[in-house]
């Protein structure tokens, strides 16, 4: 008898251990589990409460300065046809802090209506809908621009047995997105986005025509597969009634055939591209003017009849006159490129996404340049975001 009981006790402990493992892994598959998302919501609510208290104490100046943006923050359809040029930036301090955005604003004498950040697909907590970040940006009075990167390899095979194994997943990965293999992720994201009470600009799968960079590029996918994936994702968002999401299609215009990746007017709200002058730092680059990088492609971009965003805007210092570069670019935007509705500075000090060495896109230390840029954007954005 005694031995039988002992066996029963051991068996119960083992079974409960196994049951616990099963429970936990099951929870984990459903993105992050109900507790984690509850805590995320609580954390975000504390942040919002703090901002409201601060506003009550008369210290919410930033959102006060952006009061003119309210019509856009209330109505996504208005943001599909903006009447003003909307400035913005991405800062290298994100996601830890938005202090860098504030420093940039102070130096340039403006308050940026758009704040951009990057987030990837995947299983990890920081790869779910970035609730804390979008709420923080909203509390500051701005509108978030999210560059949303479909890194399919960041999903664990063990949690998602129905998708292809990791080492073969990226080959025709966009086709599997289009088939709905990743709807578990897309739908959760879409639902969370639909609950966000303001519009947000979503720049999904950018630079899809560059075969040397991201796995969603032509080395793994056909144009048709990319377009199908785009349309499928947009449709999932529409099903979730995430009508506050503005779709930003963003090819790399230095590589050819980019226009063939256009998912269609019904699926795109904005078109975008990056304008980054690398100067002579790499074999493939030289000092290009803004007109050479962007001006030559503008007519084709404008032909889509959508607002245009320059999603990454900047020049390195080496190889030419940076002040002249920015001055000319801002002046040309005022006169030559009326379809450009948004310009996002790329304020990153240690960027090595393209090159193997770190490059510095920031310019705040150069006071002659910052004065020139401040003047340029003041003339560009009159009257709304003009003098603070």
């Amino acid at each position: 008898m005694k031995r039988r009981y002992r066996l029963a006790v051991v068996a119960t402990a083992l079974a409960s251990f196994a049951g616990g493992v099963w429970l936990l892994t099951t929870f984990n598959t459903r993105s992050e589990g109900p507790l984690a998302s509850l805590l995320e919501r609580m954390g975000s609510a504390v942040g919002s409460l703090e901002h409201r208290l601060r506003g009550g104490a008369g210290r919410g100046e930033r959102s006060q300065r952006l009061r003119w943006l309210e019509p856009y923050r209330r109505d996504a359809s208005r943001l599909r046809h903006p009447q003003e040029l909307l400035l913005g930036a991405y800062d290298g301090g994100i996601p830890a802090t938005l202090e860098g955005i504030e420093r940039l604003e102070q130096t340039l004498g403006t308050t940026l209506p758009l704040i951009q950040f990057y987030t990837a697909w995947g299983d990890k907590p920081d790869q779910q809908f970035p609730l804390v970040m979008v709420n923080a940006i909203a509390n500051l009075g701005s509108i978030p621009v999210i560059t949303w990167e479909p890194w399919l390899s960041d999903f664990e095979s063990s949690r998602h047995p129905h998708i292809a194994l990791r080492d073969v997943r990226e080959s025709h990965g966009m086709a599997s997105v289009a088939r709905g293999d990743y709807d578990f992720y897309v739908d959760a994201w879409a639902q969370a986005a639909s609950r966000f009470p303001h519009p947000l600009l979503l720049r999904f799968g950018h630079e899809m025509n560059d075969a040397y960079r991201y796995p969603w590029g032509p080395q793994n996918n056909t144009k048709e597969e990319y377009i199908a994936a785009w349309r499928h994702v947009v449709e999932r968002f529409r099903l979730a009634q995430a009508d506050n999401v503005i779709w930003v299609w963003s090819p790399h215009v230095a590589y050819q055939y980019w226009e063939q990746y256009y998912p269609g007017s019904a699926y795109v709200d904005w078109v975008a591209t990056g304008v980054l002058n690398f100067g002579p730092i790499a074999q493939w680059s030289k000092w290009w003017t803004f007109a050479e990088i962007f001006g030559t492609k503008y007519p084709e971009l404008a032909r889509f009849g959508k607002p245009i965003m320059i999603a990454e805007f900047g020049s390195l210092a080496v190889g030419g006159d940076r002040t002249a570069w920015y001055t000319a670019a801002l002046a040309a935007l005022r006169t030559k490129y009326p379809a450009v509705a948004s310009l996002l500075f790329f304020n990153v000090a240690e960027d090595q996404t393209v090159t193997y060495q770190k490059v510095d896109w920031t310019f705040l230390a150069d006071s002659i340049l910052t004065r020139a840029v401040a003047t340029g954007i003041r003339e560009l954005t009159h009257p709304p975001s003009a003098p603070r």
């Binding site: 006790v9 049951g19 616990g20 589990g33 954390g43 901002h51 500051l140």
Partner: protein
């Protein structure tokens, strides 16, 4: 007395059923998974903030977790010994001691209760008061008075001297504040039929725990130990002697050269007996009731004595006897001997939130919400097991609960435990003073200045944080730091809330309850079955 009659009945913890063991195993299995999940998350490279502080925090945190696991391992062996009827004709002595300053009236009751113990025995009062009135009390209750003044080694020294002067085969060592019930020896003596049993310990219960916050808290700290705690030790073959209410076999004590001496004389005696191959029996039964410290100052003195003394098990006894103990006994003694490490880890938990809030130094780069998500299951299962094993409390009707007063007193005692730990490491001696039997008037500030200082630092910090975040911090920096800052404020808040108990207890200590708790006890109404 009448309304308290139930307090004085003989009670025992319930038997352990198979169903109980299955539930415990299931909870233990779930707990193990939760802990592994927490550990897997905790020790991720990305979580290391300031490396040295991360090590310190990990040590403190996992010390706490290891206490929980050791508790679970202990509960896995919960056992209640079978009843054994006492044979007639054993020769039994009761030793109780009196020291200068101990209240005479208490001895009236104690010796009267001893005289009412049914099993034939002889009571000895080992007296070093040099006060003739104590001899009179002994005479009145037909106890044998033995003058043992000026003997070194405090209580244990007197016991050892008395062993030389007496011949009885079995000796019940009874603390003088304990009032034994008539059935006490009948319950105990049968277990000596097994000739390898060296001592039989019974539960300690109290009759003054309602007299103050301190008394209640101090009692709460012991409830689990005298129920499921010692029952687990019993199952692991390591039930320990607890100074009072322990009956020894004379030949067992002689085999180790007499009762151990020192601050942890009881534990030292127990581990030596186990090392010499004697077995021990723990009976989770209330067959006497005694006193807990009623005022905070006496409580701290008692805790200092214990925390200094218990380390001797780890530093002096365990290394020496290691080879002679079974591994489950080694683990059990290691568990007991390191209990007061809490005094070292607590300051780390107290300090670290302020390090972040004032200087921005972050030992661990963890998200608060994530931490809660991983730690909560361990906490829930820990509480579930704690509550489940309460079915084995010796007196569940009075002892069940969350024991928050005990937790508050434990939190408040960390400076005392820290002192005990440090004194043990540097091998500094502190004198053996019997714990006060009567409440002592205490000075409020002297008793709780550490807690008041803690509340003060907390209030200033909170004010500064609110001011800083409403008026000083840049908006861009505010936006994404809410979770981290308010998470740390949460960690700073918990101990402040818990320190409220000590402040209240110190306030109460200004006006101790009048009269001895023994005044209202009628020795004729002790014991008997539950009605």
């Amino acid at each position: 007395m009448a309304e308290n009659a139930e307090l004085w009945r003989h009670r025992r913890a319930r038997a352990v059923r198979i169903r109980d063991r299955l539930v415990l195993s299931a909870l233990g299995g779930l707990g193990a998974v939760s802990l592994i999940r927490l550990a897997d998350w905790w020790f991720r490279p990305a979580h290391v903030g300031q490396p040295i502080l991360f090590v310190a925090l990990s040590l403190a945190f996992w010390y706490g977790m290891s206490r929980i696991v050791l508790g679970w391992i202990n509960y896995a062996a919960i056992t209640r010994p079978m009843d054994r009827a006492a044979p007639s004709g054993l020769s039994v002595a009761i030793f109780t001691t009196s020291a200068p300053g101990e209240p005479l009236a208490m001895f009236e009751k104690t010796l009267a209760a001893c005289a009412r113990i049914r099993y034939p025995h002889r009571t000895y009062l080992l007296d070093d008061t040099r006060d003739p009135r104590y001899r009179d009390v002994a005479d009145r209750h037909s106890a044998k008075w033995v003058e043992l003044a000026g003997i070194p080694g405090a209580k244990a020294g007197k016991i050892n001297r008395a062993l030389e002067l007496t011949t009885e085969d079995y000796i019940l060592v009874l603390d003088p504040d304990h009032l034994p019930f008539p059935e006490m020896l009948e319950r105990v003596l049968g277990h000596f039929a097994d000739s390898t049993v060296g001592f039989v310990q019974v539960a300690q219960a109290y009759y003054n725990q309602e007299r103050s916050f301190t008394a209640r808290g101090a009692a709460e700290q012991t409830y689990a130990f005298y129920g499921p705690g010692q029952m687990g030790l019993q199952g692991h073959g390591a039930a320990v002697a607890i100074g009072a209410n322990c009956t020894f076999r004379r030949s067992a004590l002689t085999s180790i050269g007499g009762h151990g001496v020192g601050l942890a004389e009881d534990l030292v005696t127990a581990i030596r007996l186990h090392g010499a191959g004697w077995r021990s029996v723990y009976l989770p039964e209330v067959v006497s009731r005694g006193l807990v410290p009623e005022d905070l100052g006496s409580f701290y003195k008692q805790q200092l004595k214990w925390s200094r003394g218990v380390y001797e098990v780890v530093f002096a006894e365990l290394p020496r006897l290691f080879g002679r103990l079974r591994w489950r006994q080694r683990l059990s003694y290691l568990t007991i001997g390191t209990y007061y490490g809490f005094g070292i880890t607590m300051p780390i938990f107290l300090l670290f939130p302020y390090l972040y809030l004032w200087a921005g130094i972050q030992p661990a780069a963890m998200r608060f919400g994530e931490f809660v998500g991983y730690a909560a299951p361990v906490g829930v299962i820990g509480v579930a097991i704690y509550l489940y094993v309460q079915r084995w409390l010796a007196d569940p009707a009075r002892e069940r609960g969350l024991h928050w007063r005990g937790l508050m007193l434990k939190m408040a005692s960390w400076p005392v435990y820290l002192a005990g730990s440090v004194l043990a490491v540097v091998r500094a001696e502190i004198p053996y003073i019997p714990t006060a039997k009567e409440a002592v008037r205490g000075r409020f500030l002297r008793l709780c200045w550490p807690q008041l200082a803690q509340v003060g630092v907390y209030a200033v910090t909170l004010g500064w944080i609110v001011y800083r975040r409403l008026w000083r911090t840049a908006e861009g920096a505010l936006a994404l730091s809410s979770e981290a800052v308010w998470g740390m404020v949460f960690f700073a808040t918990l101990p402040v809330l818990l320190s409220g108990g000590a402040i209240y207890a110190a306030w109460q200590a200004r006006t101790p309850a009048a009269g001895g708790p023994w005044d209202v006890v009628d020795p004729d109404s002790l014991g008997g079955s539950v009605s």
